[in-house]
């Protein structure tokens, strides 16, 4: 038998999806699963209409409405005209082209990166794209999943392929035991704070190590979700028993013997002994604490007990201008601590942290407690299924007693596109993924943190070290 070159899991999946590799061209990569939503698809469907072509394979495409949707009174027409038009355009396009749509009110509706996994549409070994950068979430199942632009959405609708150059590979290994009050969101915020918001640009990341493999699927998704926040094309985790157990029995997963056969295939999806990466980073789980961001990109993060750097402590002089501008926007002083700082809003939601496990974590912490009077707290489930599950488990009662508002599913206050916005100048502790200027609404100020840290802050009304509670 000839000796094959050892490959990373990323290379195995990529190479098995190349339909055509031609000199002077990027690879034509076959896409197994395409998710679409109302914001980045209308112009792509227009392109198909102009060319007079159909969707290549509708069974590989799934649509939902999430970015623009209100999280209250979803049974009523969307109030805002442009948002309503965009959702209606999605409806029309899905009908015309025969694409399955989980529309508002449907039992499967929700944030696109939450519903894919929970419906079993997301599986190991696949290639998955969506016109949304947080498509990297799906990589938690051991697949190649990445965000694309609308021209690329059109490519995939038209041909089920995308033209792509193979990115470089990076391994991020985290070993050791996480401390008290530290959850997967802290792991990823920690990594990004160490390597910066562009530290993995050009790379596809594989997360490994026992601190990763010991995590649940929900927790793994949180980590892969934020791969893009360090610039990575995507991030994946090799599938294992935790993965298979999560998928087993889900709506669109293979069933019975077909599932067992798939699992045997999926077990081969791991990086070969001796395979090499273009970059390898390693971190110790014990060094990670509850994290919080203080600036206007996700790389500007620190342990909640640390203080914001001073100008003199910046690594590069070129950062000074952006750093100063960022802190001015946030209304914060270099060198100061955030602990005890009053906040105005708490947002628990988004494709990063709105799965049932996140809501359970929050409920467990706030059970029997009430929110501080200075904060408004929104809990926005990632999908209708998460919402229903939360109600079945009685989490809604716990939230209600605590003064938290449990809303209906959608992207909500993660991106300031729908009705849910943080007002100008207000501080919000958010479990979402971006703290960019104006991200949660014009002039809003965002502190990114874990659901646990957000829950603790909701109770005290201030930036809090969650370890006081656990």
């Amino acid at each position: 038998m000839s000796q094959l070159k050892p490959k990373t899991i990323f290379e195995k999946i990529w190479d098995s999806h190349v339909v055509k590799r031609a000199e002077g061209y990027p690879d034509a990569l076959f896409i197994d699963r395409h998710f679409i939503h109302e914001v980045t698809s209308p112009q792509a469907f227009d392109g198909l209409k102009k060319r007079g072509i159909q969707v290549f394979n509708t069974s590989r495409t799934t649509a939902t409405a999430d970015h623009n949707v209100p999280t209250k009174d979803q049974h009523l027409p969307i109030k805002e005209a442009l948002s309503r038009h965009q959702v209606e355009t999605l409806r029309k396009n899905c009908k015309e082209f025969g694409v399955e749509l989980y529309d508002l009110g449907h039992a499967y509706q929700g944030i696109v990166h939450i519903i894919g996994p929970e419906l079993g549409l997301t599986q190991p070994g696949m290639t998955i794209v969506c016109g949304d950068s947080h498509t990297s979430t799906h990589g938690a199942f051991g697949n190649i999943a990445f965000g694309i632009g609308t021209s690329e959405v059109e490519q995939v609708l038209a041909t089920q392929c995308i033209l792509q150059y193979k990115p470089k590979t990076m391994k991020i290994e985290i070993n050791g035991k996480l401390g008290k009050g530290v959850v997967s969101k802290d792991i990823i915020l920690y990594i990004i704070s160490k390597i910066s918001a562009s530290g993995a640009t050009g790379f596809f990341v594989e997360y490994a190590g026992d601190a990763i493999t010991s995590l649940s699927m929900e927790a793994r998704m949180t980590i892969c979700n934020m791969s893009i926040e360090m610039g990575a094309r995507g991030g994946l985790i090799a599938p294992d028993e935790t993965t298979f157990n999560y998928i087993r029995g889900r709506k669109f997963a293979p069933q019975g013997e077909a599932f067992d056969r798939k699992v045997e295939e999926w077990k081969k999806l791991k990086t070969d002994e001796g395979a090499t990466y273009d970059s390898v980073l390693a971190f110790d789980a014990a060094d990670i604490g509850p994290m919080i961001t203080y600036g206007t990109n996700p790389g500007m993060g620190m342990k909640v007990t640390d203080r914001i750097p001073t100008i003199a402590e910046l690594k590069e002089i070129s950062e000074q201008h952006s750093f100063t501008k960022s802190l001015e926007y946030m209304g914060l002083e270099p060198g100061s601590s955030l602990l005890g700082k009053y906040i105005d809003y708490v947002f628990i939601g988004s494709c990063t942290n709105a799965r049932i496990e996140d809501l359970r974590l929050v409920a467990e912490m706030v059970k029997g407690k009430t929110k501080a009077s200075n904060v408004e707290v929104w809990v926005v489930p990632g999908s209708k299924q998460v919402e229903d599950q939360a109600r079945r488990e009685g989490l809604d009662k716990i939230f209600e007693a605590a003064g938290f508002e449990l809303r209906s599913p959608g992207c909500s206050a993660c991106l300031g596109m729908n009705e849910d916005k943080v007002p100008a100048g207000k501080y919000c502790i958010s479990t979402s993924n971006r703290n960019f200027e104006g991200r949660q609404g014009p002039k809003s100020r965002t502190f990114l943190a874990s659901p646990l840290s957000a829950a603790a802050a909701a109770i005290t009304g201030r930036v809090t070290d969650v370890r006081e509670f656990v």
């Binding site: 076959f30 609308t150 150059y165 201008h321 596109m417």
Partner: protein, 195 residues
């Protein structure tokens, strides 16, 4: 659809030295609601250009009459964040044809190239010099020669890298779908074999 062809460009530039300019700054989410590709230029850098009452913020470069031209020169890690192609559409719609930076986020770079907007990567050092040259003398003439991959700022020439395939697309106004559609038979076979 074929895009505008890009060969050479002689123009001036607008300097925006901020680093990590994310696509939420380029075009905030609340302006992503159109269902066509046109008109996004009006809201390019919306919250840096206008205050809450829609008055122009005079200090912002796009409101500064000193600067004009079809090249935007920006700090490193330009276009990070969301995959919204609307960011590339907004920059193009406003009238820019080139963005120069020392580092671009991946998805933005692809989106730009897919829309006839040329992202040019230069060294940190060259970027600094270019920003300085434009700020000191806004009328500095800049020439982009895509065929020969040369960026000329005043008298200083710098060569830049661009992927050969993408260069051909830009020069001829091709897009990726034309190529992929030509692979239809192979893709069908692949799809059937992998279902």
């Amino acid at each position: 659809m074929s895009k505008d062809k890009f060969t050479t460009l002689k123009t001036t530039a607008v300097p925006l030295p901020n680093e990590n300019i994310d696509t939420d700054q380029i075009i905030p989410a609340r302006f992503l609601k159109a269902t066509t590709r046109e008109g996004f230029g009006d809201n390019l850098f919306r919250d840096w250009r206008y205050d809450a009452e829609n008055n122009q913020i005079p200090e912002f470069v796009l409101n500064d009459n000193k600067y004009s031209g079809k090249i935007l020169v920006a700090g490193k890690n330009f276009g990070c964040g969301s995959s919204r192609e609307h960011a590339a559409w907004a920059i193009y719609d406003y009238g820019f044809r080139v963005v120069v930076s020392s580092f671009f986020a991946d998805i933005f770079k692809n989106n730009a190239l897919n829309n006839g907007l040329l992202p040019i990567v230069v060294s940190d050092q060259f970027l600094k010099q270019m920003l300085q040259a434009v700020e000191e003398k806004p009328s500095t003439e800049i020439v982009v020669d895509l065929e020969n991959q040369i960026l000329q700022v005043g008298a200083v020439k710098e060569s830049f890298e661009i992927n050969k395939y993408k260069k051909t697309c830009m020069i001829n106004g091709y897009d990726d779908i034309d190529y992929l559609l030509s692979l239809n038979k192979e893709i069908r076979e692949f799809d059937v074999a992998n279902t």
